[in-house]
């Protein structure tokens, strides 16, 4: 990409020079007399290419290169002991080797992979569906005219305004079994303390609750925008025809929100699938490994267990990418079938 672009710029500049030369009657051009489609496109749009070059370069450096390197590492046996490293003035060369698909076979045949995958899917589906439903309800409520609407909106956006890790740590304090506020309140009501983060099932419940809390504002805002773009006349007409509120919701609101919902569900699914901070900061994947999702497992391989296994971690990363790509393809296809243009 980058090479193309710079070439086009150079060529565009070269053309000018050549034109000048041609004007002086010493033309040696043979190839550009009948420019091809690509060439013509480059010549016409060279300015646009030049403008996007920095972006393409930056994306290439910060996304493309690590991606390629990650895929390469997943095919090797790289770990902390055999990668190249520089210690002061001493440089140690890399000694890892290419092992083909061995890592993939190992990871997939390990029962841990299936356990993580199942929980990751449960976690994603639960989070997205609850967040979406709550967001929809709240958006509908806030779409009416009532006193103090702005204040409510502000309050509901708040979780989004607070940095994620701050919220998660705050929740961690609330969830603390012995000294947390939640259990103090329950205790006041005569209910025995709940082991929020100490029992596998409750821990799963807790991480989902926190993620929903963090995710609702985004859903709400997006859906509120969608709601406001539905013409009010539709509702008036339906009301005249005697449609019940539920019918109006089903036949006007939902179809009207379709484009927005499809987008936010796709985004939210991808985000939740890879929601590292909530899980890592709240439970560190625990108790035991019961709330570990695929990304936290990849992190564990590379940074927690020692010697750090970079190859296996990269393998997990590539598998996550593949799963998400498959999901996006299936999702897009099903939308096409329903007549959405994507």
């Amino acid at each position: 990409m980058a090479a193309h672009t710079s070439q086009s710029v150079a060529k565009a500049a070269g053309d000018d020079v050549e034109n000048d030369v041609a004007a002086r009657g010493r033309s040696r051009r043979t190839d550009s007399r009948n420019p091809g489609g690509l060439r013509r496109a480059l010549a016409t749009h060279w300015y646009a290419w030049a403008m996007i070059t920095p972006v393409v370069l930056v994306l290439g450096v910060i996304i493309g290169w690590p991606l390629v390197r990650g895929i390469y590492l997943s095919l090797t046996d790289a770990n902390e002991r055999n990668v190249s490293r520089t210690i002061g003035v001493r440089h140690i060369e890399a000694t890892y080797e290419f092992v083909g698909l061995d890592n993939y076979v190992d990871v997939i045949s390990d029962p841990v992979f299936l356990q993580r995958l199942v929980w990751t899917v449960v976690w994603t589906v639960a989070c997205v569906s609850i967040t979406f439903t709550l967001g929809l309800v709240l958006a509908n409520m806030l779409n009416r005219d009532f006193k103090g609407r702005a204040a409510y909106r502000m309050a509901l956006i708040l979780p989004w305004a607070v940095p994620g890790f701050v919220s998660v740590f705050a929740w961690r304090f609330l969830f603390n079994r012995d000294n947390g506020i939640l259990n103090k309140i329950l205790d006041g009501g005569g209910i025995a303390a709940i082991p929020w983060l100490d029992d596998p099932t409750w821990a799963k419940f807790s991480v989902i609750a926190v993620n929903v809390w963090l995710g609702v504002p985004f859903m709400m805002v997006a859906l509120l925008g969608g709601l406001q773009s539905i013409p009010g006349e539709l509702y008036e007409a339906a009301e005249m025809d005697g449609a019940t509120p539920w019918q109006r919701f089903r036949h006007i609101t939902l179809p009207g929100l379709r484009a927005v919902s499809m987008t936010v569900i796709l985004l939210s699914t991808i985000w939740t699938f890879n929601m590292f901070p909530v899980i890592f900061l709240l439970t560190r994947g625990g108790p035991g490994d019961s709330t570990e999702i695929l990304v936290t497992q990849a992190f564990r391989e590379a940074f927690i267990t020692s010697p750090r296994d970079f190859a296996v971690s990269a393998t997990w990363g590539v598998l996550i990418l593949l799963l998400l790509m498959i999901f996006a393809l299936v999702y897009r296809r099903s939308l096409r079938k329903q007549g959405e243009v994507w």
Partner: protein, 424 residues
């Protein structure tokens, strides 16, 4: 041609300058010794806890009094994140500390990766001659000394004397006695007998030693966590919780344990000397005499606690190695060790320090010293520190009932063999 001559002359001049500089100094690049005097900045990453860090910062910065041209940059890195942070810093080389306080379990790992600078020969000789042998062993890897022991510790049973007296029980010597004592305490005060930390597998070690087991046997290269004694240890852990003798947490264990013990919500806990300073700050221990320490309760085989502690190591890539080694020597000197024993009840690693009145006068030190002498020395292999993470997962699962003791032991064995490639 001219240019060639000029370049050669320049190189020659530089070489001369370099050798001139290096004539009396060992390390010209670092430029730490200008006329024999140390200079530069030594960055020290300390992993001591909140109650200890102020004291260590003060001690570290006092190094400047001895070497006015050296600036000590004190950085406190929370222990839990330290191993990871240190590795990141060491492997990237940027912003790496010059000196780190490493858990004894990390030294072999860091040394095997080439991160630690070997201790100068004279210091290494002193370590062998003047330090407790088991402490000195922790700083070695393949026969070479890479770190100097700063403190040594082991686990003991901390108890609230008043709560035990109120319930009419003696400090328990075995887990069976502990269960009886816990029942009496609960009947008397409604509080828990023991707080057993459930989110850190280090606290599992006394249980497995108590059953006569160990995590691994380095001599025969065998993983032993999943043998009969190992399974029994997981059973014991689960049993302590289900029988109501102990309370536990799977998250925030350190804070919860200290809070519970300091406020009298739990009458006993298993902990090390590093917890003493913080414990004294609690309501229940305004009168320091209320804190008692006993040996960890024995399992069915014996009573055993792991040898722990912290060593100081110098980063192999440090630009200031001379000053860094001098700093390590200072921090492990007898004077400093006596001071931290007095202020924080931490155990010195120098044999002679135990003769000092301040150390002799510390009740905690007097208790822990014999315990340290008997403590179970761990296998000082590079993977030592790595075993705790997978073990933690299984220990927490077993203690919270998410997995049976048999499954937990088996799973820990599988994970251990993944880390220790080629072991039985």
């Amino acid at each position: 041609m001219r240019r060639g001559i000029a370049a050669t002359a320049l190189v020659a001049a530089l070489a001369l300058a370099a050798t001139a500089c290096g004539g009396d100094d060992k390390d010209a690049a670092g430029g730490t010794k200008a006329g024999g005097e140390l200079s530069g900045t030594v960055t020290w990453w300390d992993t001591s806890n909140d109650a200890e860090k102020a004291s260590f910062q003060k001690i570290a910065e006092a190094f400047t009094a001895k070497h006015p041209k050296v600036t000590v940059k004190y950085v406190n890195v929370p222990y839990g994140d330290a191993q990871n942070k240190v590795k990141n810093a060491f492997s990237s080389g940027s912003d790496a500390p010059d000196v780190i306080r490493a858990d004894v379990g990390w030294v072999a790992d860091f040394a095997s990766l080439g991160y630690l600078d070997e201790v100068p020969a004279e210091t290494a000789k002193k370590v062998d001659a003047e330090f407790l042998p088991q402490a000195a062993a922790s700083g070695k890897y393949e026969g070479k000394t890479y770190a100097v022991p700063q403190v040594i510790d082991t686990l003991g049973l901390f108890y609230n004397k008043k709560m035990l007296a109120d319930a009419g029980v003696q400090p328990p010597k075995t887990l069976e006695e502990l269960k009886t004592a816990a029942a009496a305490i609960k009947a008397k005060s409604g509080k828990a007998g023991l707080y057993l930390r459930g989110d850190d597998s280090y606290w599992f070690l006394p249980l497995i030693y108590g059953e006569g087991g160990d995590l691994v046997d380095a001599k025969t290269k065998t993983v032993t966590v999943d043998n009969e004694a190992g399974v029994k240890a997981f059973k014991t852990a689960r049993d302590l919780v289900t029988s109501g003798a102990a309370v536990t947490n799977a998250t925030d264990g350190w804070t919860n344990m200290q809070t519970a013990f300091k406020s009298g919500e739990a009458a006993m806990m298993i902990n090390g000397p590093w917890a003493v300073a913080d414990t004294y700050a609690g309501d229940q221990f305004k009168d320091k005499a209320n804190l008692g320490v006993a040996a960890v309760p024995a399992g069915s085989a014996k009573a055993g606690a792991p040898q722990g502690g912290h060593d100081l190591g110098v980063y192999a890539g440090s630009k200031n190695r001379d000053a860094a080694h001098a700093f390590v020597e200072y921090m492990t000197s007898q004077e400093v060790q006596v001071q931290s024993a007095k202020e924080l009840s931490l155990l010195p690693t120098r044999t002679a320090a135990y003769e000092q009145p301040d150390v002799k006068g510390s009740e905690m030190v007097q208790f822990f010293k014999p315990a340290v002498d008997k403590a179970v020395e761990r296998a000082w292999i590079p993977e030592n520190g790595s075993l705790f993470e997978p073990l933690k997962v299984e220990y927490t699962k077993a203690i919270t009932g998410a997995s049976s003791p048999e499954d937990a032991a088996k799973a820990a064995g599988i994970e251990f063999r993944k880390i220790l490639k080629g072991w039985k």
